[in-house]
């Protein structure tokens, strides 16, 4: 038996966020890795002619993926009880048009400071080596005046 901390239930955390639920985002949690999934539905379409996912939904999905990764690494047990990291800035590169199918996301924390974390996130559909979008952003972990953040 290891002494490792209980992994937080990130899917439960996501389901508590109305907008994540609205986009149909769930979290597949396996051991020490999480993959976010945005289940396709018509409301996610931005261009009905191609058809293609709305760029905004892909951006929102990558942002949510980054937040999920931060919550996964920085919270214990009841993740829903702790404060969510706040986005400071996010840059999204749109690489391919998003097809009307499920989208998967993974994020990686590049650098973690006391107050700010830098995160990279990637979204793909049927082939992970052909991502549809990538993002990097900064997130505020704890407010400056919060002693818990020190």
């Amino acid at each position: 038996m290891s002494e490792k901390k209980t992994p937080p239930d990130i899917n439960a955390l996501m389901q508590a966020i109305p907008y994540a639920r609205f986009l149909g985002i769930t979290v597949d949690q396996r051991g020490n890795e999480i993959t976010t999934v945005m289940h396709f539905k018509e409301e996610l379409i931005g261009n009905p002619v191609l058809p293609a996912l709305h760029g905004g939904t892909i951006g929102a999905f990558l942002e949510t993926t980054a937040i999920a990764q931060l919550a996964f690494e920085f919270s214990e047990g009841d993740a829903a009880g702790s404060a969510l990291p706040k986005p400071i800035g996010l840059t999204i590169d749109y690489l391919r048009s998003g097809k009307p199918v499920d989208t998967y996301g993974r994020a990686e924390i590049t650098k973690q400071g006391r107050r700010v974390a830098t995160v990279r996130a990637e979204a793909w559909q049927d082939d992970r080596s052909r991502p549809i979008a990538a993002a990097h952003g900064h997130f505020l972990l704890k407010p400056a005046d919060d002693p818990a953040g020190s």
Binding site: A16, I17, P18, Y19, A20, R21, F22, L23, G24, H39, F40, K41, E42, E43, L44, I45, G46, N47, P48, V49, L50, P51, L53, H54, G55, G56, T57, G59, A60, F61, E63, T64, A83, L84, K86, P87, I88, G89, L90, T91, I92, D93, Y94, S97, P100, D102
Partner: protein, 173 residues
């Protein structure tokens, strides 16, 4: 009226084509408030389903991303001499402050440069005062991105697209 002004009919067309035929824009309740050559003002009404932090009731950053992305796309369409398909290349968003719960969001975007292949656009999201922004963005769009029919579409293409989506409804998760 200067030639920079867009007619009421043109705004109505924008609303119809770029909002009513874009399922995600419709799902968020997006609305074209105003438009002129190269510039667009869009709004999203506050809704509980768009909340990102259930403890505070603050709207999710992703809603602002969607609003700015859509508003940037419309500003680009309004800057182009002819309608063509466009695709977001990149979009950078800076969040200045959290949105205030219960208040509607507005975005003002400006396409300030169009080259042969690329359009450059920037924008601001705010509640009532543009000088007190919630978020700002800067983005680039690829022009004539697809050989497919451009976004502002004919009724036939729209009907075909809706048919396609109906057909694929069963396949959705």
């Amino acid at each position: 009226m200067s030639e920079d002004q867009i007619s009421e009919e043109h705004i109505a067309l924008m609303k119809d084509v770029l909002i009513q035929h874009v399922p995600h824009a419709r799902a968020l309740g997006m609305n074209v408030v105003n438009a002129k050559r190269g510039e667009a003002w869009l709004s999203v009404p506050y809704d509980e389903k768009l909340v990102g932090n259930p403890q505070t009731g603050v709207i999710h950053g992703g809603v602002i991303t969607s609003l700015l992305d859509n508003a940037c796309g419309i500003a680009v369409q309004l800057a182009l001499p002819a309608r063509m398909s466009i695709a977001t290349l990149d979009l950078r968003i800076d969040y200045m402050k959290p949105a205030t719960p219960k208040l509607d969001l507005t975005a003002h975007t400006h396409c300030y440069k169009v080259t042969t292949n690329i359009a450059f656009v920037r924008g601001t999201a705010y509640h009532t005062d543009e000088d007190d922004p919630i978020a700002t963005c800067v983005g680039t769009f690829m022009l004539a991105a697809n050989r497919a029919v451009p976004m502002p579409i004919s009724p036939e293409a729209a009907a075909e697209a809706i048919k396609f989506l109906e057909k694929n409804k069963d396949g959705k998760a």
